[in-house]
């Protein structure tokens, strides 16, 4: 039987145009399936690795998912703000090790401005507990000093010493805080998290640029020069959220309850990892639907393969009859046709895997830059092998259709005197 394999290859080569097209159809469908699976996994991982070692995120009372998405991932609707005394009360609790406040709302040329404290660089962790590194420069120490994320620096060409102005809000038509420029004092190393796309400044800087503003617009006639702002009280009044780390992780649920039941201000404390899992439970439904659709596309591809193989049998009556005349049994014919179909599926899978690599490789930088999704090329892993196995199994089953037909045809042809 194995001796039939070269024959199957030669026969496919003889019909290389239709065979090649069939392989391409299968390869495209396989690459879609693998691509969806790869994106599903990598997206989950890149989200999961964004916050690490943060025990609680505290914000104004809203939904846990909304708070998580807005405060850490900078997507979705803005949440209400938390008063500064409330943040200080949490920081003062004895079970709390550190608090990193975050103040969102301003932007710089499409990138988010994050007001925070220098503690951010000390306590914010990503991946499996990695710290943020500086590619150049140092943390901000004074008002009107800014640290830019790796991608902000790369895309806008910023280095230490660059002068930038921040804008109020985010969108197309934003008012600029043009009278109070910032100087870039630090550039962060790439992290693969939304930090890469952020401009970080101190909470006092955020207060300072809004001193002569009211209700989201500059107060007409009032101008406070940058050198004058230090005379004002720059202590923050409100922040968007705060990251909280505990001395003892075992206390996390007690602290969460204490914060959620605070009667002075409606607060919400969430466990980021738990909320992310709950979020993925829901997102997972959508991702599974996408995967199911791509599985259907693979089924369509294999149906095309069956159609091509069955159609070719009519043209190959003479070829198969000669084989029979040379002593091949109907079972040999069955095996030959089945082997051809399986070879086509295999070639489709191999080409599909290669196609995914090319796609991932060429789009990785773009996905990272535009959507912060870290996808990595590489050999298929875990479930991707299972999917490939499933495709091969389906291809094997599909190959039975033309093979059985060829088997029966060769029996009948053998008994009829024709030609």
């Amino acid at each position: 039987m194995i001796r039939l394999l070269p024959l199957a290859l030669a026969s496919l080569w003889n019909r290389r145009l239709t065979a090649g097209l069939t392989v391409i159809v299968v390869a495209l469908s396989v690459s879609l399936l693998l691509g969806v699976e790869r994106l599903r996994n990598d997206a989950r991982e890149s989200f999961a690795s964004t916050v690490s070692r943060t025990d609680l995120i505290v914000g104004a009372r809203s939904g846990p998912v909304q708070l998580l998405l807005y405060s850490v991932f900078h997507i979705g609707d803005a949440t209400n703000e938390v008063s500064w005394p409330a943040v200080q009360r949490i920081a003062a609790r004895q079970e709390v090790a550190w608090v990193v406040p975050l103040s969102l709302g301003d932007s710089h040329r499409g990138f988010r401005v994050v007001g925070t404290t220098p503690d951010f660089f000390r306590h914010y962790r990503y991946g499996d507990g990695r710290r943020i590194g500086f590619a150049a420069g140092r943390p901000f120490a004074d008002v009107f000093e800014a640290v830019v994320g790796a991608e902000v620096a790369a895309r806008l060409g910023y280095r230490e010493g660059a002068r930038i102005t921040l804008a109020h809000g985010s969108g197309e038509h934003v008012a600029e805080h043009g009278d109070k420029p910032f100087s870039v004092v630090g550039v962060l190393a790439p992290t693969g998290t939304p930090v890469d796309r952020s401009v970080l400044v101190s909470l006092e800087s955020i207060e300072a640029i809004h001193l002569d503003w009211q209700g989201g617009a500059p107060i007409p006639g009032l101008k406070i020069a940058p050198e004058m702002v230090r005379k004002f009280d720059l202590a923050p009044k409100r922040v968007t959220a705060a990251l909280v780390g505990l001395e003892n992780r075992a206390m996390v649920f007690r602290l969460q309850r204490a914060i959620n039941e605070d009667t002075r201000e409606p607060l919400l404390a969430i466990l980021p990892g738990v909320t992310l899992d709950q979020l993925w439970d829901v997102v997972g439904i959508g991702a599974r639907v996408l995967l199911a659709v791509s599985a259907l596309v693979v089924a369509v591809g294999l149906a095309g393969l069956v159609a091509v193989m069955v159609a070719s049998l009519g043209e190959r009556r003479r070829e198969l009859a000669i084989l029979r005349a040379l002593g091949a049994g109907p079972r040999d014919v069955f095996f030959l046709v089945a082997a051809e179909s399986v070879l086509l599926t295999l070639a489709g899978c191999v080409l599909g895997v290669a196609l995914v690599q090319v796609l991932v490789f060429s789009m990785a930088a773009w996905l990272q830059a535009n959507y912060g999704l870290a996808v990595s090329p590489g050999w298929p892993v875990g479930r991707e092998w299972m999917l490939l196995g499933a495709v091969m199994l389906a291809g094997l089953l599909a190959s039975l259709v033309p093979a059985l037909r060829a088997y029966r045809q060769s029996l009948a042809d053998g008994m009829m005197v024709r030609m």
């Binding site: 994106l39 997206a43 690490s52 025990d55 009372r61 809203s62 939904g63 846990p64 998912v65 909304q66 998405l69 991932f73 997507i75 979705g76 003892n248 992780r249 075992a250 206390m251 996390v252 649920f253 959620n260 919400l268 404390a269 969430i270 466990l271 980021p272 990892g273 738990v274 909320t275 899992d277 709950q278 979020l279 439970d281 829901v282 997102v283 959508g286 991702a287 996408l290 996905l367 535009n370 959507y371 999704l373």
Partner: protein, 177 residues
Amino acid sequence: MNMTNALLLFAACTSLAPTAMAATGHAHEHGVASLNVARSGGSLLIELDGPLDNFVGFEHAPRNAEQKRRLADALAILREPARVVNLPAAAACRLVDAAVAEPFAEKPGAAHDAGDENHADLEANWHFECANAAALDGFEVTLFKHFPRLGKLRVQVAGDGGQSAQTLRPASAQVGF
């Protein structure tokens, strides 16, 4: 807006309502209870909170001898941690503190403390200290065996290795760290 963002937003919209409730107070869903598991090194804190119905089959002050017995039985089980969780023996955990809030207990000064007549919850927590924290890689929850009305446990895990949300059912009652 890419696919993932769109999905996340979709998820944010659909999951806002139920999770918002869970965060601020009480979701009261029969058959389901919540279990919080916090762990730091060898310290393990487990908190159980769920409708009383899951444990005794009614949610009012016991009205007859049979109901009194069922309530007493349930509390007795919860006061015995070995019947609640099955911690790995190698971790050498010992119970340092356990508290089971007794529903309908007469509080001094309060004539009647059933709160809502139609809903009552049962709360309990256990604090273990484990000598060999490295061997504590997870544990089995054995509550389902004693309380057949309990069908699902929503577990929130917070530990040194990270946080996760897990769902336990009678057939798969293992909490992983």
